[in-house]
Symmetry: C2
Subunit: 333 residues, 2 copies
C-alpha cells in the first residue's frame, strides 16, 4: 500500500442549499415532516420556493459538507459528485474548490439542473429538508477514478447515494477499489427515512464488510434495527460493525467497537441556530482524527468540536478555520 | 394629496451579493480599497470570484436592502430595479417578494446578466465590495410608473444610481412625479467614492430641492464638502438640506435640520460580524419612523436598532422581524 494522497475522499450528491427561516406552521401547511429530508420533483421544488421566505444560497450536500470540514481541519480532501454546467453548478464547484478540496467530476452539459435542497430552519434550530436531486442523480460508475479512489486513506460515502440508482453502483465500485488498495470505507446512514428506504441494503453493506466505519445518529440507528431500545440497537451494531459512531445531539456520541462502547461528551454551546450539517461536520472531525492517527476518543472530540461550530450559525459548512479552532481547544492536528 | 399606498418606495440597483470571508492580505493582493465599492466588468468579476473563498449568495442592493428593512418593520414597501430573467434574477425577485415588498419592474429577457456584488468581509467586520452592474444598468425612465411613485409617502433613491446613465434619468423622473404628488424624496449618498464621482450633481440635487431628505455617513459628508472638519461639513449641510441624517458608526448619528443638530446614540452591541447593510438598514428604520409620524429622535433610534441587528450577522438584510425587535426595545410601530 502506497502513502495516501488524500486523508478523506467523499462521494455524494452535489447540492446547493437554499435556506430560509420558517415557523412550524409553515411546515404543517406544506405537509413537511419536521427534521426529515424529502425527495421532491422539479414542480414541487418550484412550489416550495414560491411559498418560502427570503433565502440565502450556499453549497451543501452531506458528504460534500464533511469533505469541506476535513479540508478546514487542514486535511487533504477530494470530492466526487455530479452537477450541471449551470449557474448553481458553477457555484458548487467554486465553493468546494475554494475550500481547497480536489473536485474533478465533469459537469453535465445537458439534462436536469444542479441539485437544490430547500431547507427550512425553525426557531428551535431544527432543519427540514426538501431535495430536488436533478443532475446529482446522474453520478455513475464511469465517474469513479480508480487511481484517485485508491489514493485516499478513507473513502466516505453518504447513504443518500442510495436514492439515485446509478450512484449506488458508483458507490460499490468505489468501495471495491478502496479495499483492493488497502484503504478503509466509511458510510453515513444519512437520515432515518433514508434508512427506512434501504434498511436491508445498508445492513448488507455492514455485514459483508463493504463498509468498515459506520456513522449514524440515534434515530438512524433505531430505524436500522427497528427498535426503540437504544442499548439493544448499540449491542446489535457492536456485533456487526468494525467501527461505528452513534451521535446523540447534546448527549454527545458513543464510539462502538468490538472491544466496547465508549461515550464522548458533546461540546457545550450557548444557542443552537441551525442544526444543518451537524452530523456531516461530526464525521469530518472524526475522520480527520482517524486519518491523522488519533485515538477514537480524540477523533470523537474533534467531531464534537466541528459539529458545535456549525450549529451556531446558519449554513452547513464551517464559518471559521477548524484547524485553528481545534488548536485553541487543545486538540492540535 | 390622496392617502399613500406605500410608506416607502425605493429605486436602486437590483443586485445579488456573493459574500466571502477574507483576510486583509487578500484585499491588498487584489488591489481592493478596503471599505469601498468598486465597479467592475464581467472579466474582473470572474477573476475575483475565481480567487475568493467559499461564498454564500443572498439578495442585496443598497436601496433594496432598505426597502426589505421597511417591510420587516411592518411598513408598506415597493422596489423598482432591473434584473435579467436568469437564475440570479429569479433569486432576487423571489427574495424581495417573499419579504412582502411589491416588485413589478419587468426583467430583461436579453443583454447582460443580473448584477452581482462580490463582498469580502474581513475579520474586523468591515466589508469591501466589487459590483458588476450587468442588467441593473438598464433601469430607464420607462420603468418608472407614475401611479405607483405617486402613491408612496417617501420615494427613496440610492446615489449608486448615478453610475448607470439611464438610471439617473429614471431617478429624476421619479423625483418629479413624487413632488407633483406632494410626496417626499430621500437620497442616500451611498459611498464616499460615489460622492467623489458625482459631487457636483449631488450638491445640485440638494440645493435645488430635488431631494428633501439626505442620508450620509461621516466619510460621504466629508467627501461632499471636501473637508476633514466634521462640524464645518454639518454646518454646510444644515444650510442646504431640509432634513439630513449623518451616521457615524458606533458614535451614533446626528439629525440635521434648519432648526438645529440633534445627536442620537448608536445601540451598543457585542461584536460586529459584518457591517454590510448598516447604512441601508439605518435608513429603513428612520424612514419607517417618519412615515408613521414619529419624531426625528424616535425615527433615528429605529434606524440605530435596525443597523445594530444587521451588523451582528453575515448578510445585508435583517435575520429577524424588525417590527418585533422594535416592540421589544420599547419602540412600537
Amino acid at each position: 500500500m502506497t502513502a495516501s494522497r488524500y486523508d478523506v475522499l467523499g462521494i455524494g450528491n452535489a447540492i446547493v442549499d437554499v435556506i430560509a427561516r420558517a415557523e412550524d406552521d409553515f411546515l404543517i401547511k406544506q405537509g413537511m415532516q419536521k427534521g426529515g429530508m424529502a425527495l421532491i420533483d422539479e414542480a414541487r421544488a418550484s412550489a416550495i420556493y414560491e411559498a418560502m421566505g427570503p433565502a440565502t444560497e450556499s453549497s451543501g450536500g452531506s458528504a460534500a459538507n464533511t469533505i469541506v470540514g476535513v479540508a478546514s481541519f487542514g486535511g487533504h480532501a477530494a470530492f466526487v459528485g455530479k452537477v450541471r454546467d449551470d449557474e448553481l453548478g458553477k457555484t458548487f464547484a467554486h465553493d468546494i474548490r475554494a475550500a481547497r478540496v480536489a473536485f474533478t467530476t465533469p459537469a453535465n452539459s445537458d439534462g436536469p439542473s444542479t441539485a437544490r435542497c430547500y431547507i427550512m430552519v425553525t426557531p428551535d434550530g431544527e432543519r427540514t429538508m426538501n431535495t430536488y436531486l436533478g443532475a446529482a442523480q446522474d453520478l455513475r460508475p464511469g465517474d469513479i477514478d480508480e487511481t484517485q479512489i485508491g489514493s485516499a486513506a478513507v473513502v466516505y460515502l453518504e447513504g443518500y447515494l442510495w436514492d439515485p440508482p446509478q450512484a449506488k453502483e458508483a458507490f460499490v465500485k468505489a468501495a471495491t477499489i478502496a479495499h483492493k488498495a488497502g484503504r478503509r470505507v466509511a458510510l453515513t446512514l444519512s437520515d432515518a427515512f433514508c434508512v427506512g428506504r434501504y434498511r436491508g441494503e445498508f445492513l448488507d453493506l455492514i455485514r459483508k464488510g463493504t463498509v468498515d466505519i459506520v456513522f449514524a445518529n440515534e434515530h438512524e440507528l433505531l430505524s436500522l434495527y427497528e427498535t426503540a431500545d437504544f442499548d439493544a440497537a448499540v449491542k446489535e451494531l457492536r456485533g456487526e460493525a468494525k467501527l461505528a459512531v452513534v451521535t446523540r445531539s447534546e448527549k454527545g456520541c458513543v464510539v462502538v467497537t468490538r472491544d466496547g462502547v465508549e461515550a464522548v461528551q458533546a461540546m457545550p454551546i450557548d444557542k443552537v441556530v441551525d442544526v444543518t450539517g451537524a452530523g456531516d461536520l461530526f464525521a469530518a472531525g472524526f475522520l480527520v482524527g482517524l486519518a491523522r492517527g488519533k485515538d477514537h476518543r480524540t477523533a470523537a472530540r474533534l467531531g464534537a468540536l466541528a459539529a458545535a461550530e456549525v450549529i451556531q450559525h446558519i449554513g452547513a459548512r464551517p464559518a471559521v478555520s477548524l484547524k485553528a479552532l481545534a488548536a485553541e481547544n487543545g486538540l492540535p492536528l
